[in-house]
C-alpha cells in the first residue's frame, strides 16, 4: 500500500518536470542569438532538472517494480457466442474469464491433482454423493461483497435453474441434486448419483463463482458486467469489439498454480479475429501480442520471425478422429475398417496438413488426457499391403479394372461428411488420395455443424471427423456409449457401456484409469475410429510476452503471471 501511495505522489512531479525539460530542449535547439543569454542562464536549470528527472525516474522504477505495468493485447478467434460462463459454451470465453472468476478448486496440470482454490479443503463422502467444501475466509468479489457458502449455493442454483437455459455449465454438474449451506464457510454439494467428473467440472471457469449481488443487479445484461473474485476485473466489454481486464488490487487468495500473488499487467485488451487469414498479420503488424489458433502454415512462417514465437499448447480430450459408421455397409465389416486404418499414412497427414506441429494420435484420447493408455500406440501402423490383404479377404476386388474395388456389383465408395474447421477437409483430402491407391473412393461434402449433427443422427454417412476438448476421460462416454449424442461410430457394446458408466461413478482414480484403458483398447480393436492428431492450440506470441502458461484445459491462460517486456527491448 505504501508503495502505491508513493508512486502516485511522484507521478505528477515527473510529468511536470518532463514537460519543463522538453521546453528547455526546444530552447536549446532554437539557439538564436537574441535568446542566447536566456538559454545559457536556463542551461544550468536544465541540467539540474535533468538530474532531478533521473533521480525521480530511479525512485519510480525502484518503488514501482511490483506495480502492474503494460497493456497486453490478446486476440481471440471467434466472436464468442455470449460470454456468461454459466450460460454459454464457447471455450473462448474462458480465455479472459478464467482470470475474472475463481473456482472452488484448480487442476494442477503438472501433477494432475486438484489443489485448493476458493475452497481450502474438501471431503467426499464414501458413497460419492456428498462433496463438502471448506471455504477460504476474507475473499471478496470485485464489487466488495463477501464470498461465502451462500454465494456458492446461489451460483449453483443459478446454473441449474431452467430459466437460465445453460448450454454447458448445467451439464457439467451431471446428476446434481442440490447445494446445502452448512455454515458461512462450509458448503455441501449433493448428487443423485456418484459422478466422478464433478471435481474436474468444479475446477473450470464454467463453474466459476459470480457475485450474487451483481447477477441480481444486472439481470439479462449480467454478461456485460461480470463480477467474480479473480485476479482481474472485467472493466469494459463491447460485444464483438473488445473486452478489457484490469487488475484486482485486493487479490491475495490465488491458488498454488499461480506463480504470482498479484497481476503484473496493468491492462489486458481482448479483440476478436474471426478470419483465420487475418490472425498472423495482426501479430506481425504488432496489433496483438498473443493470438490463438494460428493456422499451421502461418505458424511455421511466424517461427522464423525474431519478434514472435509460436507456443504450441496440447489440448486434452478426444483427438481429431474419423468415426467409422460400423452399421453402414461396407464399414459393418471389421476387416474393411481395419484396412482403412492400416492404409492411412497418418504421419504424412501430420507433416503436410499440420506442419508436424501436432502429435500423431493413436487412440481416442489425446496423450495428455488423464487415463490415456500409451499401449494404443501399437495399433495399426501404416501398412498398405496388409490393408490390401484385409480388403481382399473381405471379398473386395477390382473386377472391372476401373481402379476402384467392387464386390457383388457394388463399388467401394465411402461418404465422408466434413465440417469446415480444424483442417478436417484438408486431412480428409489427403487421406482420400492415400486410399485411392487401395482402390477405395471417398466422396466428401462439407456441411455446417448443425447439419452434420442432423446427418449423424440419421446415420447416413460412412465417415465424420470430429474432436472435442476436455480434461476428464469421462469425455469418452460422449462418444462411445451406445446412447451418447456423439456415438458416431454407432457402436452398441453393452460391455463398453458398462465400463463407461462405472468409470463415471468411481471416485478412485486408479480404478477409473483401468476402465478407460479397456475402453481405449476396445475402440481400437474394433476400429471404430481412425485417429489423426492430438489437438494443439498454436499461439502466436510476441517475444515481449513473459511467462504465458495455460491451464489443464490447454485453452485458458493464467494471465496473473504474464508480464510484458518494454517495447523496443
Amino acid at each position: 500500500m505504501a508503495i502505491r501511495v508513493r508512486c502516485v505522489a511522484v507521478l505528477p512531479g515527473l510529468w511536470h518536470n518532463s514537460l519543463w525539460a522538453r521546453g528547455q530542449l526546444a530552447c536549446a535547439q532554437k539557439g538564436g542569438t537574441s535568446t542566447k543569454p536566456m538559454c545559457a542562464k536556463s542551461h544550468n536549470r536544465f541540467l539540474v532538472c535533468l538530474v532531478l528527472v533521473a533521480a525521480l525516474l530511479a525512485t519510480l522504477l525502484a518503488g514501482c517494480a511490483s506495480r502492474p505495468t503494460g497493456q497486453l493485447r490478446y486476440g481471440l478467434t471467434l466472436a464468442p457466442s455470449g460470454i456468461d460462463p454459466h450460460v454459454n459454451a464457447s471455450s473462448e470465453l474462458g480465455i479472459p474469464l478464467t482470470s475474472v472468476y475463481d473456482t472452488l478448486i484448480y487442476l494442477d496440470p503438472e501433477t494432475g491433482e486438484f489443489v485448493p482454490g476458493l475452497a481450502e479443503r474438501w471431503e467426499i463422502s464414501g458413497d460419492g454423493l456428498a462433496y463438502t467444501f471448506y471455504l477460504k475466509e476474507g475473499v471478496k468479489f470485485h464489487d466488495g461483497t463477501a464470498f461465502d457458502a451462500e454465494a456458492v449455493r446461489f451460483n449453483l442454483d443459478r446454473i441449474t435453474s431452467e430459466a437460465l437455459a445453460s448450454q454447458k455449465a448445467r451439464f457439467m454438474l451431471g446428476p446434481y441434486d442440490r447445494t446445502e449451506v452448512v455454515d458461512d464457510g462450509t458448503v455441501r454439494i449433493l448428487l443423485k448419483q456418484p459422478y466422478a467428473p464433478l471435481m474436474d467440472s468444479l475446477s473450470q471457469v464454467y463453474l466459476g463463482m459470480a457475485s450474487p449481488a451483481a447477477v441480481q443487479k444486472w439481470g439479462a445484461d449480467y454478461q456485460l458486467h461480470q463480477v467474480g473474485t479473480g485476479p482481474f476485473v472485467m472493466a469494459e466489454y463491447l460485444p464483438g469489439d473488445h473486452l478489457l481486464l484490469r487488475p484486482n488490487p485486493d487479490y491475495d487468495w490465488g491458488p498454488s498454480v499461480y506463480r504470482q500473488r498479484r497481476a503484473r499487467l496493468a491492462e489486458i485488451e481482448f479483440r476478436f479475429f474471426t478470419d483465420a487469414a487475418t490472425r498472423s498479420p495482426a501479430l506481425e503488424s504488432g496489433e496483438a501480442d498473443v493470438m490463438g489458433e494460428i493456422p499451421p502454415q502461418d505458424a511455421r512462417r511466424l517461427e522464423s520471425s525474431t519478434d514472435l514465437k509460436v507456443q504450441v499448447v496440447p489440448i486434452p480430450g478426444v483427438s481429431l478422429m474419423f468415426f467409422l459408421n460400423m452399421t453402414r455397409p461396407p464399414l459393418d465389416d471389421l476387416r474393411v475398417r481395419q484396412a482403412l486404418l492400416y492404409g492411412t499414412d497418418r504421419k504424412a497427414i501430420i507433416s503436410t496438413v499440420f506442419q508436424d506441429l501436432s502429435p500423431l494420435a493413436y487412440g481416442p484420447l489425446a496423450a495428455n488426457t488423464l487415463g490415456y493408455d500409451p499401449a494404443v500406440q501399437g495399433y495399426y501402423p501404416y501398412d498398405p499391403e496388409k490393408a490390401a490383404d484385409l480388403l481382399a479377404e473381405a471379398g473386395w476386388a477390382d473386377s472391372d479394372g476401373d481402379g476402384t474395388l467392387d464386390k457383388g456389383g457394388q463399388r467401394l465408395v465411402l461418404d465422408a461428411v466434413l465440417m469446415g474447421w480444424g483442417s478436417m477437409p484438408e486431412a480428409s483430402q489427403l487421406m482420400a488420395s492415400q486410399w485411392q491407391a487401395l482402390g477405395v473412393q471417398v466422396e466428401s461434402r462439407v456441411v455446417s455443424y448443425s447439419e452434420a449433427l442432423q446427418i449423424a443422427g440419421e446415420g447416413m454417412y460412412h465417415l465424420i471427423p470430429f474432436n472435442l476438448s476436455g480434461s476428464d476421460p469421462d469425455i469418452l462416454r460422449k462418444f462411445f456409449h451406445s446412447t451418447a449424442s456423439f456415438n458416431w461410430s454407432r457402436t452398441n457394446d453393452a460391455e463398453m457401456d458398462g465400463w463407461l458408466d462405472e468409470a463415471s461413478r468411481l471416485t478412485d482414480r486408479a480404478q477409473r484409469v483401468t476402465l478407460y484403458g479397456r475402453v481405449q483398447h476396445r475402440v481400437m480393436e474394433q476400429a471404430l475410429i481412425l485417429p489423426i492428431r492430438d489437438y494443439v492450440n498454436l499461439n502466436g506470441v510476441s517475444s515481449r510476452v513473459q511467462d504465458l502458461r495455460y491451464d489443464g484445459q490447454g485453452w485458458f491462460p493464467w494471465l496473473i503471471d504474464v508480464g510484458l517486456a518494454p517495447a523496443g527491448k
Binding site: 459454451a89 454447458k168 443422427g457
Partner: protein, 310 residues
C-alpha cells in the same frame, strides 16, 4: 397528395417487411439442423435434456403455430431473446449498429467519390485511353471480392507501409482500410451508371442548347448534365447503402470489426431464429428508408419524377 404518397409507400414497406420475414423463416426452417441439438450436443446433455430444451424453445410446435408466433412477436416489435446468447436481441443489435453505420457511411462516401472520379472522365472522354482506364478500374472494383482486396490492403498498408491498423475499431484510422476496400467494391457499379447516364445526357438537346447559349462548360456540367444524370446513380447508391446496413460481413471479418453482418452470420450458423429475425427487420427498415430518401431526393433533382410521386 403527399399523404397519399406516403401511405402508399408505407403499405409497400409493410409488404416488403412481411415478405422478408417470411423468407427468413422459411429459409431457416428448410436448412437442416436443430438449434437445440447444436447448442447442447457438445456439453454432455442427454438426448432427453436436448428434447426438453427443444420443447422449451417451441420448436416442437406445428410449423404454422411457430410462424404465427414469429409474426405476432414481429408485429409487437418484440424481438425476443437470442437462443445462443441468452440476451435481448434488441440490445444486441443496438450494440452492433453504430459500427455498421460508420462503415456503411464511410464506404458510401468513398464509393460515390470514386464512382464520380471514374465515371465522369470516362463519359466525357468516351473512347479515349482515359475511358478505357476508368472503365477497367470500375470493372476491377466490381469483380474483386472484398476478402481478397481486404487482405491485400492489410498486406500493403498495415504490414508493409504501416500506415493504418489492420484490425479493430475505435479511431478514424481504423475505418480507413475497410471503408476504402468496401467503397472500392461498390464504386464499380456507381461508376458504370454515372458513365452511362452522363453519356446519354451529353447528347440531349437541352445540353446542346446550353452549350449553344454560351454557358461555361463547368456550368453546363454541374447544372445541366450532372443534375440530370445523378438520379439513377443515387438509386444505385441508396440500394448499396441499404445492403451494407444489413452488415458487410466479409469486410467485417477481414478487418475484425464488430457489426450486424457478423452477428447475423453467427445466428444463421446456429439457427438462432430470433437474432436472424431482428437483423432482418433492421435491414428491411434500412432498405425502405434509404429508398424513400433516395426517391425524394431524385424528385427534388428531377422535376419530371415529382409528377409521378404525386
Amino acid at each position: 397528395m403527399a399523404a397519399r404518397y406516403f401511405f402508399r409507400r408505407a403499405l409497400g414497406a409493410i409488404f416488403v417487411l412481411w415478405l422478408a420475414a417470411t423468407l427468413a423463416f422459411v429459409a431457416l426452417k428448410l436448412t437442416p439442423g436443430d438449434p437445440a441439438q447444436a447448442l447442447l450436443a457438445a456439453s454432455g446433455a442427454t438426448p432427453a435434456e436436448i428434447a426438453e430444451r427443444r420443447a422449451h424453445l417451441g420448436l416442437d410446435d406445428p410449423l404454422l403455430l411457430q410462424y404465427g408466433r414469429y409474426l405476432a412477436e414481429l408485429v409487437r416489435l418484440d424481438l425476443g431473446e437470442s437462443w445462443l446468447h441468452g440476451r435481448p436481441v434488441g440490445r444486441m443489435i443496438v450494440e452492433q449498429l453504430p459500427s455498421t453505420l460508420a462503415l456503411a457511411l464511410a464506404a458510401t462516401a468513398v464509393a460515390v467519390l470514386l464512382g464520380l472520379l471514374l465515371g465522369l472522365p470516362a463519359a466525357l472522354r468516351r473512347g479515349t485511353w482515359l475511358d478505357t482506364l476508368a472503365t477497367s478500374c470500375a470493372v476491377i472494383g466490381l469483380s474483386t471480392p472484398t476478402y481478397w482486396s481486404g487482405l491485400l490492403a492489410i498486406l500493403v498498408f498495415s504490414l508493409y507501409l504501416r500506415w493504418f491498423p489492420s484490425a479493430g475499431q475505435g479511431s478514424p484510422a481504423h475505418l480507413v482500410l475497410p471503408a476504402a476496400v468496401l467503397g472500392f467494391a461498390m464504386s464499380g457499379a456507381i461508376a458504370r451508371v454515372v458513365r452511362a447516364q452522363v453519356a446519354e445526357v451529353l447528347s440531349a438537346n437541352y445540353v446542346i442548347a446550353a452549350h449553344a447559349k454560351g454557358l461555361t462548360p463547368r456550368r453546363v456540367l454541374f447544372v445541366h448534365i450532372l443534375r440530370n444524370a445523378m438520379g439513377p446513380a443515387l438509386a444505385v447508391t441508396a440500394l448499396q447503402f441499404g445492403f451494407m446496413l444489413s452488415g458487410a460481413v466479409v469486410t467485417e471479418s477481414v478487418f475484425a470489426r464488430r457489426g450486424l453482418g457478423k452477428l447475423v452470420v453467427q445466428a444463421i450458423i446456429w439457427r438462432d431464429l430470433p437474432v436472424v429475425r431482428g437483423v432482418m427487420l433492421v435491414a428491411a427498415i434500412a432498405f425502405v428508408l434509404t429508398s424513400l430518401v433516395s426517391d425524394l431526393a431524385r424528385g427534388w433533382l428531377d422535376p419530371r419524377l415529382r409528377e409521378e410521386q404525386q
